[in-house]
Amino acid sequence: MAPWMASGLIYASGLALTAGSITLLYITTRTFNFAVASMATWGFMLAYTGVSLYGGTPYVYLPLVFIAGSLLGLIAYYGLNRHLLRRNAAEITLMMSTLGYDLILLSIVQMFADYLTLTYKLYPRRVMLSAHDFQLFGERAAAFILPVIAIGLLVALHIFLTKTKFGIAMRATIENPVLAGASGINPDRVYMISWVISGGMSAIGGAAMAMAITGTPVMGMNTIPLMFAGAILGGLHSLYGGILGGFMIGLTEYAGVFYLSREIGPWIQGYRMGIPLILMAATLLLFPRGLAGIPWAKLFGNLFSRKRGDN
């Protein structure tokens, strides 16, 4: 594996999950969820608390992290989003309400960090969660496990959305809420489940990212521009596009920093966030609907037909 690839894959997996969670909520409830930042931080904090107090690897705590993130999503929905959606609030209002929720979660996570320090003598303000990882094929296990978890969640979500009655009802509500309501589908339940899945994905994403970067109580706040960049690169209207966008943003950052610092100097490290953002801007200039708007089938079709012609 190239030197940047292990960390890049771990980081990109986390970013893909958070970008996917932003996209899922946007297509179902029209809400840009800024609270994804603190939900991700909570994911890291709980995984850290688990390994510090009870031992084991961070992976053991991922189910718990998912449940905790889902609960945060439920609180956001029943405490805020549901009331605003019923009043047909504008997108900007929906978005700002999540910013308020994010600030509340951020304050509580800071208090929780102090509690861990005062009670258990832990120091969660600068954590290398990767210290609790193990080796697999000469690399950190996270480089294999986390992409599998991210892709596994995507596949599970795909099966849920295409093969189950409620999943198809979710797609129906996303496409046409009025007709879905007239069919007897309760949109309230669809929105609630979206928040549950999205909260869980954000929290696991945060725990995953903390396996590549230094975990801090403001980790989510520092990385939220890239989470949104992933969702926007994906086209905002496609869940699969959002997850792919997150992967691309994460991998580009690590690969870009590695190769550019070799070519033009280590000063580029200071601008590392700019590299994936330039990729996002360039992609959107060429394909305004993002990755989901690229005619992949046509592109691959042309590629194959050209290959056949060469032969």
Binding site: I168, E175, V178, G184, P187
Partner: protein
């Protein structure tokens, strides 16, 4: 079955309907006609909890349903077929039918979907195709089939003939009268193709600028030359006979 009393409704702060009184008798076909922008679609949206009811009441089986959430009305047996966006374009025909039968048990929904493909054979051919790829007429058939999947007591049909070729629109109208005659379903139909709708309807309401201008038997409205000519674009062929000709607008479409 459905009684609307002194209804004032609209969207946000905009009032569209004024003091509406409408009765929809059980097992009858009630037709609401009127020019563009009369508030016909708003009437159906008000019943379905999509538009905002400012005052007045909507009684369904003698219970108030004004302002109720849309999905709860579907549970009560009211089926709504909107004018636009009446199928899930991204889902297959089969998934559309199954979503329409969302409230039924899986086996019941499956049996009902099969029954729908017998009533509308054209759907069987395209059962696994995305609904968005169907033609206008096929989509309308699917929309009606979806409305029927719920075993409705009351069907609200919004401008079924919109954007359809006259021959297809005629077929759709025949289907509507069959729903009343053979299945005994109570229907409230809003329609721009006024002449044909009035021919098959039992009771008619003429809606103009959000107010009712005519209430009575459907075929008798056709004998009101002034109203027909002024609001429905139906003109008398000659002074002596009672036959009418269609003007261009009679086959047009609007958002009501």
């Amino acid at each position: 079955m459905l009684r609307i009393r002194n209804l004032n409704s609209g969207y946000g702060k905009l009032q569209v309907l004024y003091n509406l009184d409408i009765d929809v008798p059980t097992k009858g076909l009630t037709v609401v006609v009127g020019p563009n922008g009369a508030g016909k679609t708003t009437l159906l949206c008000s019943i379905m909890g999509i538009a905002r009811v400012f005052s007045g009441d909507i009684l369904y089986e003698d219970k108030s349903i004004a302002g109720k959430l849309t999905h709860t009305l579907a549970q009560k047996g009211i089926s709504y077929v909107p004018q636009m966006g009446n199928v899930f374009a991204e889902l297959s025909v089969l998934d559309n039918l199954q979503m329409a039968g969302y409230l039924s048990k899986k086996e019941d929904a499956k049996a009902k979907a099969e029954q729908m493909t017998e009533i509308f054979p054209v759907l069987k051919k395209f059962i696994h195709r995305k609904a968005g790829t169907l033609s206008g007429g096929e989509r309308r058939m699917l929309a009606i089939a979806m409305g029927l999947m719920k075993d409705p007591k009351l069907m609200l049909l919004d401008e079924l003939s919109t954007d359809l070729a006259p021959i297809i629109a005629e077929k759709v109208m025949m289907e509507v009268s069959r729903l009343r005659d053979e299945l005994g379903i109570t229907i409230l139909m809003v329609e721009q193709m006024a002449k044909r709708a009035l021919e098959i309807g039992d009771t008619a309401y003429l809606l103009v600028s959000g107010e009712v201008r005519y209430t009575g038997k459907a075929d008798e409205l056709l004998n009101e030359p002034e109203l027909c000519s002024m609001y429905l674009g139906i003109k008398q062929a000659d002074d002596k006979g009672s036959s009418f000709t269609l003007s261009a607008t009679d086959e047009g479409s609007d958002q009501g």
